[in-house]
Amino acid sequence: MGEERPGASETTERYLEHSRRRALSLAGLALAAFAMAIATLRLGSTDLSYAEILRIIFTGEGSGPDGWWDSYVVWNLRLPIALSAVAIGAALGLSGAVMQGILRNPLASPFTLGLSNASAFGASLGIMISMGGLSAGWFAAAGAGGHILTVILALGFAMLATAVVVLLVRATSSSPETIVLAGLAISAVFSSGLAFLQYIADDVALQTMVFWQFGSLDKLDWRSLGAISATLAAAAVYFFYKRLDYNAMEAGDDVAAGLGVDVRRARIVGLSMSALMTAVAVSFAGIIGFVGLLAPHVARRLVGSDNRFLLIGSMLVGAAVMLLANIISQHAFGVVVPIGIITSAVGGPLFLYILIRGHKNASG
């Protein structure tokens, strides 16, 4: 990507050809994601042609007597969900790739720092408060609606968990093992807190809490999409700027430091930004499992671990997987099944398949 080529040696020529193939793989992934996004706009009980969808997107109005309704369906129902699937999938894929790289751990994901349990705890607390399960006079006075309160607390507790891990790392060492273990410990604490809230919650609150944890795109609108996209864009620009630092860190901390990388800082900032990006997505959509773990593995098989390609690849795979899972969740069962259930159900077997193929390739 971006290499100059005239007069290059034979080895370099072959390498540039290889890089072109990797760029083509990325283009293929982008095309797949685009096709699924179009399918997302097309599918549904209101039958719309591609031409009609395009007209509505570009002119804002549908044709015919039901034009207003068609326009409403595209702009308020299908487009926000399709774009949210893209943004959330890209955010989870990107943060997974960065986490796996800077922690040098193939099992790392956006949830490695205990984020999922922390945000579930925050959301559950928000649900209990807004349903009157806990005294919340000052929240009510501040005019916080139930949904917004849930989002704020989910985000707040996710970032609190991240802050604890970061402070712990700063006080001790920044080794990947410490971070992963600290994440496990934080996760356990919030898991216990979550279990306690579920234990004391009434039936309606408990059902809402459990449903939140499934993860769903139904709650998303243009405002939440804006917040998710803005964090994703900021993080993506930063990560892409640091892509060579992450490549150096793949070679070990001492080598990276010898190449001029401030390893400790890169690790702390990298995981904080990954966590923020994931926390924002999760606080609106709930917990969407496996995409952050799976997407970098799929992308790595296609374009390798070079972060110049891997970061983009992981975003595209994440987006495509989310779009596919959304189509399945909306249309495969007659009733809408929460997307979080689908991502884990589809992601698990797919992950196993990649592991088996990877093993076969390595031993063959």
């Binding site: 005239p6 290889h18 490549n247 150096a248 070990g252 080598v255 010898g258 001029g260 390798g304």
Partner: protein, 276 residues
């Protein structure tokens, strides 16, 4: 070129290095030898600022490593660890990592040339597009050396560069270390377990014992007494093809009552080195 002046290092209360001083000159290959636990790897890490000496200093071209910016450090010292993770990255990409200090946003022609040159010099061109997990341990070691060479540093610092290589690759790696040092004007400093390999290829040798520099000089400093004092092993030093060769004496290899830290493992290793 690369100079250590009174380098001390502590792990907690344990003094690992006790004021080590030496100099590696331009185009020179210097090997650091000594038994396990003598402080070789710690000294090497101080030479590339992966560890900060508790006192003393290390300079490259007269500049203290502590005063260098990260980029200046990266173009002064190239470090090759004994082992490293092998991500799913092609050999070419892994060597390109060594160009990180030179790349701002774009990989330039000069970077590709440096990578190709390092890959070709180490005989890795056929493997350039293979992924690291698909190559052998010896080939991976060469990739790590190529990465440090692509860095174009003034001093190349290698930790046990021959540890996972077979005999032909050991000699090939040593030839390359010598060639790169002499042609590029860089100096090469490496830790070695195999005393005979070090004798064959190094311009000078530094022997460490219990964190101190016991002796430093050309191959002529290696005597039977030195081998015994450093490793606690009785050995003959014979001349073979104009170079000294250390041959431990069988059965009587260990002198009774020697107070060395871990003489047995050191003696074992000399035997091991000869077998290889």
């Amino acid at each position: 070129m690369l100079r250590a002046e009174g380098v001390c290092f502590r792990y907690g209360k344990r003094e690992v290095l006790k004021g080590v001083s030496f100099e590696a000159r331009e185009g020179e290959v210097l090997s650091i030898l000594g038994p396990n636990g003598a402080g070789k790897t710690t000294l090497l890490k101080c030479l590339c600022r992966a560890r900060e000496p508790s006192s003393g200093r290390v300079t490259v071209g007269g500049r203290d490593l502590r005063e260098m910016s990260p980029r200046e450090l990266a173009t002064s010292v190239g470090y090759v660890p004994q082992s490293a993770p092998a991500p799913r990255m092609t050999v070419y990409d892994a060597v390109l990592v060594g160009r990180r200090p030179y790349i701002d946003l774009r990989v330039a022609r000069r970077d590709l040339d440096a990578v190709s040159a390092a890959i070709d010099a180490l005989g890795l061109s056929d493997l350039a597009l293979k992924y690291l997990p698909e190559i052998s341990g010896g080939e991976f070691q060469k990739v790590m050396i190529a990465r440090a060479m692509a860095q174009e540093p003034k001093a190349l610092v290698l930790d046990e560069p021959t540890s996972s290589l077979d005999i032909s690759n050991q000699h090939a790696a040593m030839h390359m270390a010598l060639d790169s040092a002499r042609s590029g004007g860089a100096c090469t400093v490496m830790t070695m377990h195999d005393i005979n390999l070090a004798l064959h290829y190094s311009d000078r040798l530094l022997f460490l014992r219990d964190g101190e520099a016991y002796a430093c000089g050309g191959p002529e400093i290696v005597t039977e007494d030195l081998v015994y004092d450093v490793y606690g092993v009785e050995a003959d030093v014979i001349q073979h093809e104009d170079a000294p060769l250390v041959v431990p004496r069988r059965a009587r290899g260990m002198r009774h009552g020697h107070s060395h830290d871990r003489p047995h493992s050191a003696a074992d290793h000399v035997h091991e080195g000869l077998r290889e």
